[in-house]
């Protein structure tokens, strides 16, 4: 669905992403992990066509992304970013309806159709925000706002979801809800998701594939069991880690071992 071939990005004379090749497949969740500054968010922004690449190709359903217009891309790729600027009061419903922009018949103008409203209502239910739909965004808690961002991305009906730290502001239960929403989309509507996260155990629990990045390069990729090995993680994060089997899922479980604790 979405492919990157030998992708490199640099700005300010610094290489941010180097020779990354990846492919998102229907029904699969791919997680990107790695230390701060590894180029994870830059990679995500480049896949969406937002940041210019230095070399390589991004293909959307086999078509080079630069040949597609902006609204066409937005009907296929949705992004959930980390922050929203809310200097003007908008309601949750208005905010989520923003996700329908790319489906309007005239760009920049027009009114929401019945179908737009129907989609918005259904994603609000999916993200458990129906009761808050007429509230103002700036009255919500951080977690509720994060879910509204997710709802807006789902409202685009894009088959490819790019998520940048989607669970950063969420409590445990809403982390699970949000990820199961992503999982359902992938299973039922044959979507594909790419998730940038710092939470390695969360990645271990929900991802089909993991890409491990350091200094702009993908240095390991594969299933959670293949990538989340102590020697690899110690090398990348420069901290001792303990990897054992998760008591419930049996998948890998990563625990950092702080040196002052081990003394």
């Amino acid at each position: 669905m979405l492919e990157a071939r030998d992708l490199s990005v640099s700005y300010d004379h610094r290489v941010a992403v180097a020779n990354v090749t990846l492919s998102l497949k229907q029904g699969e969740i791919t997680a990107i992990i790695g230390p701060n500054g590894a180029g994870k968010s830059t990679l995500l922004r480049t896949l969406n066509g937002q940041l210019p690449r230095t070399s390589g190709n991004v293909l959307l359903d086999g078509e080079p992304i630069e040949r597609l217009n902006r609204r066409n891309i937005s009907r296929h790729i949705a992004v959930v970013a980390q922050e929203a600027e809310l200097r003007f009061p908008v309601t949750v419903l208005e905010f989520v309806l923003g996700g329908r922009f790319a489906w309007a018949t005239h760009s920049g103008w027009g009114w929401e159709t019945e179908r737009d409203l129907h989609v918005a209502e259904s994603v609000l239910r999916e993200t458990e925000l129906s009761d808050l739909s007429s509230r103002l965004m700036n009255e919500l808690s951080g977690g509720e706002r994060q879910r509204a961002l997710m709802a807006r991305a789902l409202a685009t009906e894009a088959a490819i979801l790019l998520l940048d730290e989607p669970t950063a502001n969420l409590d445990l239960s809403h982390q699970a809800t949000l990820l199961s929403v992503v999982r359902n989309r992938c299973n039922q509507q044959r979507s594909a998701a790419l998730v940038v996260t710092h939470d390695i155990n969360l990645a271990a629990a929900f991802a089909d594939n993991i890409l491990l990045m350091k200094q702009g390069r993908v240095i390991h990729s594969g299933s959670p069991a293949e990538v989340l090995r102590p020697e690899i993680l110690q090398d990348v994060f420069e901290i001792r880690v303990l990897v054992d089997a998760h008591p419930v899922t049996g998948g890998p479980r990563v625990t950092p071992v702080h040196t002052d604790q081990s003394v």
Partner: protein
């Protein structure tokens, strides 16, 4: 992190979604109010006109004198009505430009006068006055050029490494405003002393020197500009919530930015060329529009355009009647209302 400065424009928590129907009804009501204001305000002034005969003459669009004397007829159609129509064009233009800048720059404090864009247009107009005095048509063109240059300067200055914060934008506006003010002083020195007083009034925003040639230009630009920005309102709705997000959702950010900069500069340029720098209209009116109708630009931009026209018509009527037969510059009245509101907004952002 998430910015919650929107308490600046606090409003009732629950609000119905804006629909085409609501927009049309709102605009029709406001247009009717504007028409009523144009008629009523043309009856007010230092010279008392007979009400019934004046209404009759207005209803006939000036084809019949309805018993008015030639002097009264001329006061109504040659002096008051052009001035009121110019006030409407200027108010509509400035409020529309303000609403456009606010959405694009994601800043409820953005306003052509406060950002120095009016001063840019003023410098352009003055250059036209001093060097091409005989060619009236150069005024709006150079005013537009000045406004566009000032817009780009403020935009570049406001974008710091950490992105454009509201405070940074206002500071950039102060820098551009003060710099251009000194340019204005330099150009003023080049003028002959007899013109300086009318010139000072013009700088403060003054509608008394209504030019017959520029009136149709100002009205055309006001209407076309409001339409052009309204047609990009849905893009602006998303841009208001961040450029990155808007891009992700399918907005051609670069194109919309150019449209808003050019259209807003045209609006500011044509109104400054005609009436000088009328301040705060672009701040007060879009704020009131959002407060009463919500942040959806599809309704708040046309409502601001109509509201701005209404506001400046009323402010100018106050300016020319309150100490009649003397007149105040209309900018003094709008600033008197706008400055306290600006302080209020600044405290809440």
């Amino acid at each position: 992190m998430i910015t919650t400065a929107s308490e600046a424009v606090a409003s009732p928590a629950r609000r119905k979604r804006v629909t085409l129907r609501k927009t049309i009804v709102t605009c029709a009501v406001m247009a009717a109010a504007l028409l009523l204001a144009i008629v009523l305000m043309s009856l007010l002034g230092s010279e008392q006109l007979p009400v019934r005969a004046s209404l009759c003459a207005l209803a006939s669009f000036g084809t019949s004198t309805c018993g008015l004397t030639q002097d009264q007829f001329d006061i109504l159609f040659q002096i008051r009505l052009p001035r009121i129509l110019l006030a409407a064009a200027v108010g509509g233009s400035l409020a529309t430009a303000g609403a456009g800048y606010q959405a694009l720059l994601r800043n409820p404090l953005a306003e052509p006068y406060l950002l120095g864009i009016s001063n840019g247009a003023a410098v352009g107009t003055m250059i036209a006055l001093v060097f091409f005095g005989a060619m009236e048509w150069t005024r709006p063109i150079l005013a537009f050029t000045g406004a566009l240059a000032a817009t780009l300067a403020v935009y570049r200055l406001a974008r710091g490494r950490a992105g454009a914060t509201p405070e940074r934008l206002i500071l950039a506006g102060v820098i551009v405003t003060t710099f251009l003010s000194s340019v204005i002083v330099f150009v003023t020195v080049l003028m002959d002393a007899t013109r300086i007083r009318s010139f000072t009034f013009w700088l403060l925003g003054d509608l008394s020197g209504t030019s017959k040639a520029l009136l149709p230009v100002a009205i055309t630009i006001a209407i076309a500009g409001a339409l052009a920005l309204t047609l990009n309102a849905r893009s602006l709705n998303l841009l208001m919530l961040g450029e990155r997000d808007a891009f992700d959702l399918g907005v051609e950010v670069g194109r919309v930015r150019i449209v808003v900069f050019v259209v807003a500069s045209l609006l500011v340029g044509s109104s400054v060329a005609a009436s000088g720098s009328v301040g705060y209209v672009g701040l007060v009116i879009p704020h009131l529009a959002r407060l009463s109708l919500g942040s959806d630009n599809r309704i708040s931009i046309p409502a601001a355009a109509l509201g701005g026209a209404l506001f400046v018509i009323v402010a100018d009527t106050v300016a020319r009647t309150v100490i009649a037969p003397r007149e105040l510059p209309v900018g003094a009245i709008t600033a008197l209302i706008g400055a306290p509101l600006f302080i209020y907004l600044l405290r809440r952002v």
